[in-house]
């Protein structure tokens, strides 16, 4: 489903004054934005505030949205800026709430999912946590949110070729972190 075309139209309508259309975009994207933020800062409350902030900024800058521009790229550019601002504000604070904590009980392996697989996923998310924020961000955007390299390039303000290199390197870093964790468990 090509939701981006619709998203672009909706945001253009918001920009033209139909601000109620932002509600549709909110329903489509607030969970993804929350996942993005919580993956980066591991702080639930701050992430919820950031989601609000992104939609406030969309209202504020709605007139500057170019309908020819990808809405997703524009939204995540706003999200990145909001996160940078928030990080600067919170610098020095002790944060690090486990973003997976609330769902951990739910995430226990079901009948169809082996205990070993559950353990693998736990290790995988620990490996993801160990990555530097820029690599984690790339994997969250490309894998959690399914953003293509062309849009990632717009979000990150770089060439598509650079995105390819960076995503590959992030995958390798994840593999190394994952392997190291397995080594630590078996040592």
């Amino acid at each position: 489903m090509n939701v981006n075309a619709n998203d672009n139209e909706l945001m253009a309508q918001v920009g033209a004054g139909q601000v109620q259309k932002l509600a549709v975009l909110f329903e489509r994207h607030h969970r993804g934005l929350f996942r993005y933020f919580v993956s980066l800062n591991r702080n639930r409350e701050a992430s919820e505030d950031l989601v609000q902030d992104v939609f406030f900024r969309m209202l504020r800058y709605r007139a500057s949205y170019d309908p020819k521009q990808s809405f997703t790229a524009w939204m995540y550019q706003i999200a990145r800026n909001a996160n940078v601002d928030q990080t600067q504000k919170r610098r020095g604070e002790v944060i690090g709430i486990d973003e997976f904590a609330e769902r951990r009980a739910d995430a226990a392996p079901g009948p169809e999912e082996s205990a070993a697989r559950g353990q693998d996923l736990t290790l995988l998310r620990q490996a993801l946590d160990r990555l530097p924020p820029d690599k984690r961000e790339l994997l969250v955007l490309s894998r959690f949110e399914g953003i293509k390299h062309e849009e990632l390039a717009r979000i990150l303000n770089c060439e598509v070729g650079t995105v390819k290199v960076r995503v590959y390197r992030a995958m390798r870093a994840l593999e190394q972190a994952y392997t190291a964790l397995i080594g630590e468990k078996t040592a």
């Binding site: 601000v19 909110f26 997976f100 390819k164």
Partner: protein, 264 residues
Amino acid sequence: MNCEEAKLDLPEYLSHSLTEARELEFAAHIAGCEACRAETERLGTLWKGLALLPGMMAAPGDNVRERFYESLAAYKHGMASARPSWREKLAAFWPAVAFAMLAVGVGIGYMVRPGAAPQANGSEVAQLRGEVSSMRQMVALSLMQQQSAGERLRGVSWAYRAAPSDTEVLSALLETVNNDASVNVRMAAVDALHTFGSSPVTRTAIVQSIPKQTSPLVQIALIDLLVDLKAAEMATELRKLAADASLDAGVRERATWAIGRLVQ
């Protein structure tokens, strides 16, 4: 396709976003290259696992949706009222304009936080902070004038964000304490007055408000506030209240108790 090209295409191969021709090239390469095939399998396992992690993550709370819709409604309200001529409408419809400015204000608030705008000079930041402060004031004032008691309660909660020196918000809170139709709103406004409690004007206004109140609950809350503020200078006024037979017996008793607390 060589190994280096295959590595760069690997994530897109795993997410099935290569063109068909490119995917065929990739498949042909790993068919003949054991190292790249092994790497594709290893990273492919992790790639599949990554897709399952969002399901393990916490979801945003319902308050996120509530806050968004409240803000959006306020922004729409503000737009509708401000559209013809915001300067003219400000006088008549400024509460609605304040709603609109809330959204802008919060945005600016984020922009002007310490360290958030290194490109701005000190005076610009100070000016923007002043604007944000002014917007908070307008939001509080406008909400406190709404017909809905719920909206007025929200306005009172915004008053906590005002500076203790903000006389307009103080004045609006006192007006609410003295005249609001809802006891709940009046009680909330009494609590909010604590922020402004260091001012002699506030303390005097609190004690003057007590005999005007029709609700003993609010009267007792005002007396308790004076105790919280350690307003010993109001003991004389409290003695008058304690002796005022027109007041509820519970209120007079509380006034006597307060005098004992303040004059020790």
